[in-house]
C-alpha cells in the first residue's frame, strides 16, 4: 500500500519524509515537481502521477503537499482519503495543519504516522485511539513535561484498539449527561447573470460536541417531520445502519469528543431561496486602461435573521493591474499577484446596504477583458436551517 510519505511545502522543500517499507529516495519527488511546474496553479497538480517505478498520489492541504509513494495497485481514493485523514489528525493535534506546526512537533508527527500505518496499511486512524497512544501537545503539558520529565506518550496501554468500537475509549465517564449538537447547513448555489438559479445544493452536517452518554437513540424527528427529506446521508461509522434502515433512528455509541455524526444532503426538489442578492456593475471601457466596479450586497427575505460574515471574493481578469475602491462597510484587499479581490463585509443591515465602488486599473495596451469575473459570496446565518 503506501510506501512512503513526503511533505512538501509550496516552495518545493521536502520538510518531512517517512517510510513504512524500505526507503524510497527523495528524488522520486522530482516527478512531482515536474508536474507541479506544468500545472501552474497548485490546485491543478494531478493527484495521481505515474513515474517509471512508482506512483505518486498527492493531496494539497493548507499549503502543504502530502505526496505518498505507491508501488502497487491500490484504490487511489483509499490513499487520498487516508492522506486527508492524516491532515485532519494533524489539525486535531496541533490546531492547524501548517508547515511550522508540523516542524515544531516533528516527533509527535512521526509517532502519529508510525501508529497510523503499519507496513503501509492503515492501522489506527481514529483520533480517540491516537490520543490515547500519543497525547496531543498543550502548553500546560509541555511545561509539566519539562519539569517532571514525563512524556507525551501515554503510559497506559491503549485499549481502544482492542474493541470493536475503535472510536471510543473505554470507560469514559462524565458527571453530567449532556450532549450538544451543532447542525450546520450549507447551500452551494450557482447563480447566473440573470439571477437564475443554476444549481443549488443544500447540504448539512450534524456535529456532536462533547458527548458523554453511553448509547444514543436519536429519532430524527426533525428531519422526518419535514417534508423535505434527507436526500442522501453519510454516517460516522458509529451509527448503526440497521436501526437507521429499519426505524430511521440514529443509534450510536458516540466517540469521545467532537466529531461529525452525519452529513446529509437535502433533496433539491425545493429550490432554496438565497437570502442575499448582489447588484453588480462591472464594466471595462474599450481602449482605455480603466474600468468601473460597483457592487452592492443586500439581504433578501431572511426570516428575521441577520446575514453575517459576508465575504466576497472576485477573481479579476489577468489584465487588471490594480483597483481603487471605496467600501461603505468592511474592508477590501486586492492581491495584484493572484488578481483576487477580497471584500470582508461583515454583517448586513437592511438599512444601509454595503457597497464597494471604484475604478479598476487595467494594463495599458492589453485588450479589455471580454467577460466579467464571477463573484463568490460567502455568508453565515445563525440559527437558521435551510431544511427547516
Amino acid at each position: 500500500m503506501i510506501h512512503s510519505l513526503f511533505l512538501i511545502n509550496c516552495s518545493g522543500d521536502i520538510f518531512l519524509e517517512k517510510h513504512w517499507k524500505s526507503v524510497v529516495s527523495k528524488s522520486v519527488c522530482d516527478y512531482f515537481f515536474e508536474a507541479q511546474e506544468k500545472a501552474i496553479d497548485v490546485e491543478n497538480v494531478p493527484p495521481v502521477i505515474s513515474t517509471p517505478h512508482h506512483y505518486l498520489i498527492s493531496i494539497y492541504r493548507d499549503k502543504i503537499f502530502f505526496v505518498s509513494v505507491i508501488q502497487t495497485e491500490v484504490p487511489p481514493l483509499f490513499v487520498i482519503e487516508f492522506l486527508h485523514r492524516v491532515a485532519d489528525t494533524f489539525q486535531d493535534y496541533f490546531g492547524e495543519c501548517s508547515e511550522t506546526a508540523i516542524k515544531d512537533n516533528v516527533v509527535i508527527v512521526y509517532e502519529l504516522l508510525e501508529e497510523m500505518l503499519d507496513n503501509g496499511f492503515p492501522l489506527a486512524t481514529e483520533s480517540n485511539i491516537l490520543k490515547e497512544l500519543i497525547k496531543p501537545p498543550t502548553i500546560l503539558r509541555s511545561v509539566v513535561n519539562s519539569i517532571t520529565g514525563s512524556t507525551n506518550v501515554g503510559d497506559t496501554l491503549p485499549t481502544g484498539q482492542l474493541s470493536n468500537i475503535p472510536w471510543r475509549r473505554a470507560g469514559v465517564k462524565y458527571t453530567n449527561n449532556e450532549a450538544y449538537f451543532d447542525v450546520i447547513e450549507e447551500i452551494d448555489a450557482i447563480i447566473d447573470k440573470s439571477a437564475d438559479l443554476g444549481q443549488a445544493v443544500c447540504s448539512g452536517s450534524c456535529i456532536l460536541a462533547s458527548c458523554p452518554g453511553h448509547r444514543f437513540h436519536l429519532p430524527l424527528c426533525h428531519y422526518l417531520q419535514n417534508p423535505r427529506l434527507l436526500d442522501d446521508v453519510s454516517f460516522h461509522p458509529c451509527i448503526r445502519f440497521k436501526r437507521w434502515e429499519s426505524e430511521r433512528v440514529l443509534s450510536f455509541i458516540p466517540p469521545d469528543g467532537n466529531f461529525r455524526l452525519i452529513s446529509y444532503r437535502v433533496s433539491s426538489q425545493n429550490l432554496v431561496a438565497i437570502p442575499v442578492y448582489v447588484k453588480h456593475m462591472i464594466s471595462f471601457k474599450e481602449n482605455s486602461s480603466s474600468g468601473r466596479f460597483d457592487v452592492t450586497i443586500g439581504p433578501k427575505q431572511n426570516m428575521g435573521k441577520t446575514v453575517e460574515g459576508v465575504v466576497m471574493t472576485v477573481h479579476m481578469p489577468k489584465a487588471v493591474l490594480n483597483m481603487n475602491l471605496t467600501a461603505t462597510q468592511g474592508s477590501y484587499t486586492f492581491d495584484p499577484v493572484t488578481k483576487v479581490l477580497t471584500w470582508d463585509v461583515g454583517k448586513i443591515t437592511p438599512q444601509k446596504l454595503p457597497n464597494l465602488k471604484g475604478i479598476v486599473n487595467l494594463q495599458s495596451g492589453a485588450p479589455k477583458p471580454e467577460e466579467n469575473p464571477s463573484l463568490n459570496i460567502q455568508f453565515k446565518i445563525q440559527q437558521l436551517a435551510i431544511s427547516g
Binding site: E17, N44, Y55, P75, P76, V153
Partner: protein, 1345 residues
C-alpha cells in the same frame, strides 16, 4: 554482505545454535549449584551484558572455575577475526565486572587430572574462534571432556616492532600472574607496553592513540583498564550487534570503557575469514567517550557529528535519552542520515521509558535494513515481548519484529506469525495478519507457509482481523480465490462492522471473487422480467443459509436466477454507500457497477454525487470513475445532471472532468440545458477550460444530430471571438463537424476562409486550409484566392500549415487547374527548397503525382481519386470509452494503464461454478435478520405444509387463532387452517428470537398444548388436499369480484362515500357498515356469485377473520372521504366537494381521478362551470372536466377530473369559473390517493419487498387502539388511508398491502405486523421515500383514530 546466501545460511545456523541448541543441552548434563559450594570444574555462565535496563540475554559467556578463585575462559580478541585468548582471571573480579553468574556442575563429576592437564595445555595455546564450533562454551565443555575443541600451541611473538596485531602472549602472561589474587591489576608498565604497539600497527585501520596521560587523568580506577581489554567474545558480539552492552550500561565510569576501547582498538581489524556478521563492528559507539580525539576505527563512519547525541543516549537519565531520540527522529524526518548512531540507539531498545522505546522502534525500523547485524541483537527483546501476558505488548512486539527487514530472522518471524495467528487476542491476530505481507516481501519463498496462516486467519470470525487478513491475502496470494469460498458468507456478513480501510480491501476482493463465481446478472435481461418460478426462487434468495434449498433451486434454474450469495453481497454492501469514507463509497460503487443487475446500479449515483462535495482530489478520482460509468450507464446520472455543473472556483482539471461527464450525459432531452450551460463556460477566463468546452460542444453535436446545426452556428459565432485560442479551437472542432455534412455549409467554409487573415494558431490555419482544400468544389471562387494568399506567406508559415498549403494546392490543381496551375507550381517550388525535409518530400511526391509528365506513370491517372476520396468523418468520442475493462476505482483505471500488481477483473463465467463450495458445515448466526428467517420459514409450508414438517414442535401461539375461529364460525375453514399453520411457524420463529409474543396467556398455551397436537393432525388431514384448489379458486373469485366491484362502484361511489362517513362516526350501524365494506362484492354481486357461495359458508356475518383471498378486492371499497374544495360561504352559495373515487381515470392511467360534486345552493342558476387556468407545478397535469353548461339552484352535479400529481403531495391549483366569478381552489391529495392497488401474490410481494430494503424501507412502531385491533378494522383503516390492495398473507398477525404510485408506477408495499398486545409495527417499502414516509404517517394516524 547479507546478499551472499552462504553468509545468510551461516548466520541462520549461528542464530539457531545460540538461541536454541547450546543452552538447553546444558540442562541435561549439568545441575545448577549455588555460589557458596563452588568447586573446581564448575561451569560459570556470565551474562554478556549488564545493561542498566536490565535485559537478560540468552547469550552467555562460559568460563570454568579452576581453583583458588581462578577462572579460565576463552575469549575472542575483539575484531581480530577468529583470534582468541585463553585466559585466567580472578573469579571475584570477573563477577564484579560481568555481574552475577550461574553456576553449573556436571552431574557425574569430572576427572580432575585430566582437567588440570587440559587447563595447562590451554594456557599455552591459542585457538581459532568459530562461533558454531569453537566458542567459549565449547572451550568450557572441552575442559570438562565433553566436546572437542581445537587449539594450537602459541607461537611466541616478538613484542616490539611487530606489525602484527596484539597477540595473546603479549598480554596474557601478566594476566595469569595477577589472576591469583582474585583481582586483576594491570601495571602501568603493561599498559605502556600495550600502547607501544600502536604506532607500528600500520597494516590496520587508522587508529588514534590516546596519550597515556589522558587515560590516566580521566580514569578514576585505572587498574580496571587493562582488564577490560579482555572482555569476552560474546561481549564483543553483543556490542557489535549494537545492543546495550556499551560501557555506559556497565556499572563503571565512562573512563573505564574509554580505556578499554583504547586498549582494544589497536587490534580492530577485518579479516577475510571472519564470519560476515562480525565485520560490521564499529567502535564508533564509543567514540564520544574518547573525548576530543575520538578513535575513528572504521572508515565507513562519516565525520563525527553526533557526539553529544551519543553521550545523551548512553546516559542513565531517561530524559536525556528521550531528548536525544527526539533529535534523532527529527533528523530522520528531515531525511538526514542518522545511521551512524545505530549502535548507540539500538541498545536502548529495552529501555523502560515507553516513549524512548517507541522512538527507538521508529529508528530501528528505519535503519535495521542497513545495519542488519546490529539489528539482530534487538530481536530477543521482541521475542520476549511475544510471550508477554499483555496482548498489546505481544502485538507491538510482533509489529516491530516483523517490520525489521533483516532476512536472517525470517524463520523467527515465521514462527512468531504462526504463533500469533492462533493467539487468544484478536488484536494480536490482526497484527499477525499485518505481518504476513511484510514477511512475504522479505522472503517470497515463505509463500506456502504464509498461505496456510492466511487460510487460518481467514476463518477468523472477528471483525478486527477480517480487513487485515484480506489485505494480506491480496498481497500474498490474490490468485488463491479458492480460499475465500468457505469464508465468503462470513465476510459478507461481517463487512459492515469491519473498520473502514478493511472494508475497501474486502469489497474490492469480493468484487473479483464474485466475477469468478457468479453468472452475469445482465446476460439475459428479457428473461429476468417476470415469471412465477422466478418469483418463488427470487424470494428464496434471501435464504442464504439453507444449502439444500439452494442446491435445489440451482437444479431448476433455467433462465437467470441470481445466486443467493451474489444477492447477499449486493445487499450487505449497499448500506456502506452511506459511509463517510470516500474510498468505501467508491468501492461499493464499483462493486455495484461490476456486479449488480442493470436495474440496481442506479443506487450508487446518489452516493457518488455526494462525494463531489468533498476535497478536490476526491472529486478528481470520483469524476474519472463517473465519466466511465456515465458512458455505460447514462441513465444513472441523468437526474444529477446539475450536480456536474461547473463552478468558477473549481480547479481546471475538475472542470474538464465535469465537462466530460456532462458531455457523456447529453441526450436529446437535456441537450438544450447543457448547451446553455456550455455557453456560459465559453466565457470563462480559464482558456484551457474554454478549449475543452468547445471540444465538448463538438462532441455533443456529433452525437446528437438534432442540435448539430445549432452547435455549428454557435461555434461559427465563436470564430469572431477575440481570443485566438478560442477561435482556433472552434475552427478545429468545426472542421470535424463539417466533415459530416459538408455540402450544406459552404457559407461557413467561406467565413472560415476569411479568417486565414487573422488567425495565427497553426493548428487552426491548417484546419481551415484542409477544409477549403477538401471542399474546394463548394467554394470554387474563394479557394484559389486563399491559395494565393497562402503562397505569399508560405515561407513564414509553420510546418503543419505548409503541408496543408501543399495539400490545398494539389487539390485545387486537380479540380481547377486553369486558375491554380501557376500558383501550385509556385508553391511546390517554394516547398522544394524548404528547410524541412518532410515538406520537401511532400512537394516532390505531389509534383510527381499531379503534374503529368512523361515519367510519371499510371499513378497520375488516379491522382484525383487519391486526393479527393471521400474521407470518413472523424468520430469524436470520450477518452473514457472502454476504460471500464479496468476495475473501477483502481489505480489502473485512473491511469488507464495497468499498474503493478493490478489484478484483472475476470469476465463472468459462462457456467456458474458450483455454489456449494461456499457452504459451511456449521451454520453461522452472524446477522440473520428476522425478516429473512421469517420468509424462509413461511415459504416452506406454502408448498409443503402437509408434509408435517412443523408438527410436533409447534408452539401454542396459534391456539387462540383457531379457538376464535372455532368459536366464531361453525365450521373450521380449510384455508384458514393453512394460514394458521404457516403462522404457527412464524410465531415459533418469533419466539426463538424473543422479539415478539402473542397476546395470549402462557397458561392457556400450556393447557391446550396437548389438545392442539391432536387438532393438528386432524387439520392436516382435512386441510391439505383442498389447499391448492382453494387458493386457485380464491384467485378466480378475486378477479371476478374486482371486475364487478368496479362496476358497482361506478354506480354507487357517492353512496359509498356517505356510507363510510356514517360508519366512521361509529355507533350501531358501524358493524353493519363494516361487514358491508368488507364483503361488498358478495353482497352486491350476490347472484353472480352463487357458484362461489361456499365461501360464505365459512365466513358468516359476525366479524371474524375473512379468508385472505376475499380481501383482494376490499381496498377498492375502503372508506371514501370527501373533502371540501369550496365552501358554501366562500363560493357565494356554490359549494364544491371532492373525493378520490379511486378509479382509474379514463384516458390517462397516470392521473388520479378526482370526483367533484358541485352543488348550487344559490337561488340563481350557475352557468358555464368550468376549470380554467390550471397552474400546475412543474410536471403536473390537469385534465379538466367538461364544462357544465348550467346548474339549477339546489341542483348537484358530479364530474370527474384527472390530475397527475407526479407522485407528490403538492396541491394542484386551478381556478373554478362560473359565468360570473372565479374561485381559486386547490386540491391537495392525501398521499394514500396517489396510488392504485395492485394485486400480487405473497411471493411476489416478498420478492419485491426484498428489493426495496435499505433506504426505501420505513418502519414505524405503533400501538393499536382498542377498537382497531380486529382484523377487519385494521384492513379497513389502512385501505381508507390509502388506495391499496390487500395481498394474501399466510400469517394472521401480519397484513400486507400493495399498490403502485399512479404516475411513476413504483411499488408501495405495506406490511403491518401485530405484535404482543396492542403493539404493532408498520413497514412501508417504496422507492419513493417521501411517499413512504408520509404514508406511514397517514396510516399510523388512521389506525390511531
Amino acid at each position: 554482505m547479507s546478499s551472499s546466501t552462504s553468509n545468510c545460511r551461516r548466520k541462520k545456523e549461528m542464530l539457531s545454535f545460540l538461541l536454541f541448541k547450546t543452552l538447553p543441552g546444558f540442562k541435561d548434563v549439568f545441575s545448577k549449584v549455588s555460589e557458596s559450594t563452588i568447586q573446581t570444574g564448575d561451569i560459570l555462565l556470565f551474562p554478556i551484558e549488564t545493561c542498566s535496563s536490565g535485559s537478560i540475554w540468552s547469550f552467555k559467556h562460559a568460563a570454568v572455575y579452576c581453583n583458588e578463585g581462578e577462572v579460565i575462559h576463552l575469549q575472542k580478541i575483539r575484531s581480530s577475526g577468529n583470534r582468541t585468548w585463553i585466559i585466567k582471571e580472578g573469579y571475584k573480579a570477573m563477577k564484579k565486572d560481568r555481574g552475577k553468574c550461574e553456576i553449573y556442575r556436571k552431574k557425574d563429576g569430572i576427572d580432575l587430572n585430566d582437567f588440570y592437564s587440559k587447563v595447562r595445555e590451554a594456557m599455552n595455546s591459542e585457538a581459532k574462534y568459530d562461533i558454531t564450533k569453537n566458542n567459549c562454551i565449547h572451550f568450557a565443555l572441552f575442559l570438562l571432556g565433553l566436546v572437542d575443541f581445537y587449539m594450537q600451541l602459541v607461537e611466541v611473538d616478538n613484542e616490539g616492532g611487530s606489525d602484527r596485531p596484539v597477540s595473546i602472549p603479549s598480554v596474557s602472561p601478566p594476566r595469569q600472574g595477577c589472576g591469583v589474587a582474585g583481582r586483576t591489576v594491570v601495571s602501568q608498565r603493561d599498559l605502556v607496553r600495550l600502547f607501544r604497539f600502536r604506532p607500528s600497527n600500520g597494516t590496520h585501520n587508522k587508529v588514534r592513540v590516546l596519550p597515556l596521560g589522558a587515560i590516566a587523568t580521566r580514569s578514576a580506577s585505572f587498574t580496571h583498564a587493562g582488564f577490560l581489554a579482555f572482555l569476552p567474545d560474546f561481549f564483543l558480539v553483543g556490542r557489535r550487534r549494537g545492543l546495550g552492552v556499551g560501557p555506559a550500561g556497565q556499572p563503571k565510569t565512562p573512563a573505564d570503557g574509554d580505556a578499554a576501547e583504547e586498549v582494544t582498538s589497536p587490534v580492530l581489524a577485518t579479516e577475510a575469514g571472519q564470519p560476515a556478521c562480525y565485520s560490521a563492528l564499529r567502535a564508533d559507539e564509543l567514540r564520544p567517550l574518547a573525548g576530543p580525539e575520538p578513535a575513528v576505527a572504521t572508515s565507513t563512519v562519516p565525520p563525527p557529528r553526533h557526539d553529544d547525541l551519543k553521550e545523551m543516549l548512553d546516559s542513565n537519565k531517561d530524559s536525556l535519552k528521550l531528548e536525544a531520540m527526539k533529535r534523532i527522529v527529527a533528523m530522520i524526518a528531515r531525511g538526514k542520515n542518522a545511521s551512524d548512531l545505530f549502535p548507540a540507539v539500538v541498545k536502548n531498545v529495552a529501555c523502560k521509558n515507553i516513549e524512548v522505546k517507541k522512538l527507538v522502534y521508529v529508528y530501528l525500523v528505519r535503519y535495521a535494513e542497513e545495519q542488519q547485524d546490529l539489528a539482530l541483537l534487538s530481536i530477543s527483546t521482541f521475542q520476549r515481548g511475544l510471550k508477554d501476558p499483555n496482548q498489546l505488548i505481544r502485538a507491538s512486539a510482533l509489529r516491530v519484529l516483523s517490520s525489521i527487514r533483516v532476512p536472517i530472522i525470517v524463520p523467527i518471524m515465521m514462527l512468531a506469525i504462526k504463533e500469533a495467528a492462533s493467539d487468544m487476542s484478536p488484536y494480536v491476530r490482526k497484527t499477525a495478519a499485518h505481518a504476513i505481507p511484510k514477511l512475504y516481501s522479505l522472503d517470497s519463498d515463505q509463500k506456502d507457509q504464509l498461505i496456510e496462516v492466511i487460510e487460518k486467519l481467514l476463518a477468523d470470525k472477528t471483525t478486527l482481523v477480517a480487513g487485515s487478513v484480506v489485505m494480506a491475502f491480496e498481497e500474498v496470494c490474490p490468485e488463491r480465490i479458492d480460499l475465500i469460498h468457505k469464508n465468503y458468507r462470513k465476510l459478507c456478513n461481517l463487512l459492515i462492522d469491519v473498520e473502514e480501510w478493511g472494508q475497501v480491501v474486502i469489497i474490492n476482493m469480493l468484487t473479483r471473487y464474485a466475477r469468478t463465481q457468479f453468472l452475469s446478472p445482465n446476460q439475459n435481461e428479457s428473461l429476468l422480467e417476470e415469471s412465477a418460478e422466478k418469483a418463488f426462487y427470487g424470494s428464496e434468495e434471501e435464504d442464504t443459509k439453507d444449502a439444500k434449498a439452494e442446491a435445489a433451486s440451482l437444479a431448476k434454474r433455467k433462465p437467470y436466477v441470481m445466486d443467493p450469495d451474489h444477492r447477499l453481497l449486493l445487499r450487505n454492501t449497499k448500506p456502506l454507500l452511506q459511509s463517510r469514507n470516500a474510498a468505501v463509497v467508491m468501492a461499493v460503487a464499483q462493486l455495484y457497477f461490476h456486479l449488480a443487475p442493470k436495474a440496481e446500479v442506479g443506487v450508487i449515483a446518489k452516493a457518488l454525487v455526494r462525494l463531489l462535495r468533498s476535497h478536490s482530489e476526491v472529486q478528481y478520482v470520483v469524476l474519472q470513475n463517473v465519466a466511465t460509468m456515465s458512458i455505460k450507464r447514462r441513465g444513472m446520472f441523468e437526474p444529477y445532471l446539475k450536480s456536474f455543473y461547473i463552478r468558477s472556483t473549481d480547479p481546471t482539471q475538475i472542470k474538464i472532468l465535469k465537462l466530460e461527464v456532462l458531455t457523456n450525459l447529453a441526450n436529446e432531452t437535456n441537450i438544450s440545458t447543457i448547451l446553455r450551460e456550455f455557453q456560459t463556460y465559453i466565457r470563462s477566463m480559464d482558456k484551457d477550460f474554454v478549449a475543452a468546452t468547445i471540444q465538448a460542444i463538438g462532441r455533443c453535436a456529433t452525437n446528437i444530430g438534432k442540435v448539430r446545426d445549432t452547435c455549428l452556428n454557435g461555434l461559427v459565432q465563436l470564430l469572431s471571438n477575440r481570443d485566438e485560442l478560442v477561435v482556433a479551437e472552434s475552427v478545429v472542432v468545426i472542421k470535424k463537424l463539417l466533415q459530416m455534412q459538408p455540402a450544406q455549409h459552404s457559407e461557413i467554409i467561406k467565413h472560415m476562409a476569411k479568417l486565414t487573415d487573422n488567425i495565427q494558431v497553426p493548428m487552426a490555419r491548417a484546419s481551415i486550409l484542409w477544409l477549403i482544400g477538401e471542399y474546394c468544389e463548394h467554394v470554387p471562387k474563394i479557394a484559389p484566392d486563399v491559395l494565393r494568399k497562402m503562397a505569399k506567406s508560405f515561407t513564414n508559415e509553420e510546418d503543419i500549415v505548409k503541408l496543408q498549403v501543399i495539400n490545398l494546392a494539389a487539390k485545387l490543381y486537380l479540380t481547377n487547374s486553369k486558375q491554380s496551375k501557376l500558383l501550385t507550381q509556385y508553391v511546390l517550388n517554394l516547398a522544394k527548397y524548404d528547410q524541412n525535409y518532410d515538406i520537401r518530400d511532400r512537394a516532390r511526391f505531389i509534383r510527381q503525382l499531379i503534374v503529368p509528365t512523361e515519367k510519371s506513370g499510371a499513378l497520375n491517372k488516379y491522382a484525383k481519386k487519391l486526393f479527393l476520396a471521400q474521407k470518413p468523418a472523424p468520430i469524436l468520442e470520450s477518452s473514457f470509452k472502454d476504460r471500464d475493462h479496468f476495475q473501477l476505482g483502481s489505480l489502473s483505471h485512473l491511469l488507464n494503464a495497468k499498474a503493478v500488481g493490478y489484478q484483472e477483473l475476470p469476465d463472468w463465467p459462462d457456467e456458474a461454478p458450483d455454489p456449494s463450495v461456499r457452504n459451511v458445515e456449521v451454520p453461522e448466526w452472524t446477522k440473520c435478520t428476522s425478516r429473512e428467517k421469517r420468509k424462509e420459514k413461511v415459504e416452506k409450508p406454502f408448498y409443503s405444509d402437509s408434509e408435517g414438517e412443523s408438527g410436533p414442535t409447534e408452539s401454542a401461539d396459534s391456539e387462540p387463532e383457531s379457538v376464535s375461529e372455532e368459536s366464531g364460525s361453525s365450521s373450521s375453514s380449510s384455508s384458514s387452517s393453512s394460514s394458521g399453520s404457516e403462522e404457527e411457524e412464524e410465531e415459533e420463529e418469533e419466539e426463538e428470537e424473543g422479539s415478539g409474543e402473542q397476546s395470549e396467556d402462557k397458561e392457556e398455551e400450556e393447557e391446550k398444548r396437548t389438545k392442539r397436537k391432536e387438532k393438528e393432525g386432524s387439520r392436516k388431514a382435512a386441510g391439505s388436499p383442498s389447499e391448492e384448489e382453494e387458493e386457485e379458486e380464491g384467485a378466480k373469485k378475486a378477479k371476478k369480484k374486482a371486475s364487478q366491484g368496479r362496476k358497482s362502484r361506478t354506480e354507487t361511489s357517492s353512496e359509498e362515500a356517505s356510507a363510510s362517513e356514517s360508519s366512521s362516526s361509529g355507533s350501531d350501524s358501524g358493524s353493519e357498515a363494516e361487514t358491508k365494506r368488507r364483503k361488498p362484492p358478495s353482497s352486491r354481486a350476490g347472484p353472480k356469485e352463487i357458484s362461489l357461495l361456499d365461501l360464505d359458508d365459512f365466513t358468516p356475518p359476525p366479524p371474524q377473520p375473512v379468508p385472505s383471498s376475499s380481501h383482494l378486492l376490499s381496498p377498492a371499497f375502503g372508506a371514501v372521504r370527501t373533502y371540501e374544495l369550496l365552501h358554501r360561504m366562500a363560493g357565494e352559495g356554490l359549494s364544491v366537494e371532492y373525493c378520490f373515487s379511486r378509479r382509474p381515470f379514463p384516458g390517462d392511467p397516470h392521473m388520479v381521478a378526482v370526483q367533484i360534486q358541485i352543488s348550487n345552493n344559490t337561488d340563481a342558476e350557475v352557468k358555464s362551470l368550468r376549470v380554467s387556468e390550471p397552474k400546475p407545478l412543474s410536471g403536473m397535469r390537469i385534465q379538466e372536466f367538461p364544462e357544465i353548461e348550467r346548474l339549477a339552484p339546489g341542483d348537484t352535479a358530479s364530474v370527474v377530473m384527472g390530475i397527475d400529481f407526479c407522485d407528490s403531495t403538492q396541491a394542484a391549483n386551478f381556478q373554478l369559473c362560473t359565468h360570473t366569478r372565479h374561485f381559486y381552489v386547490s386540491i391537495q391529495p392525501p398521499v394514500g390517493e396517489l396510488m392504485a392497488p395492485v394485486f400480487m401474490s405473497e411471493n411476489e410481494f416478498k420478492k419485491e419487498q426484498g428489493k426495496l430494503t435499505g433506504m426505501s424501507e420505513i418502519t414505524e412502531k405503533l400501538t393499536l387502539p382498542e377498537k382497531c385491533r380486529s382484523d377487519h378494522a385494521i384492513v379497513q383503516q389502512v385501505t381508507s388511508a390509502a388506495n391499496v390492495g390487500r395481498v394474501p398473507c399466510g400469517a394472521d398477525n401480519e397484513y400486507r398491502f400493495a399498490a403502485k404510485t399512479v404516475t411513476s408506477g413504483s411499488l408501495v408495499l405495506i406490511t403491518l405486523e401485530r405484535r404482543e398486545g396492542a403493539a404493532a409495527q408498520l413497514t412501508v417499502n417504496s422507492e419513493k421515500m417521501v411517499i413512504g414516509t408520509m404514508l406511514v404517517k397517514d396510516i399510523v394516524q388512521a389506525l390511531a383514530q
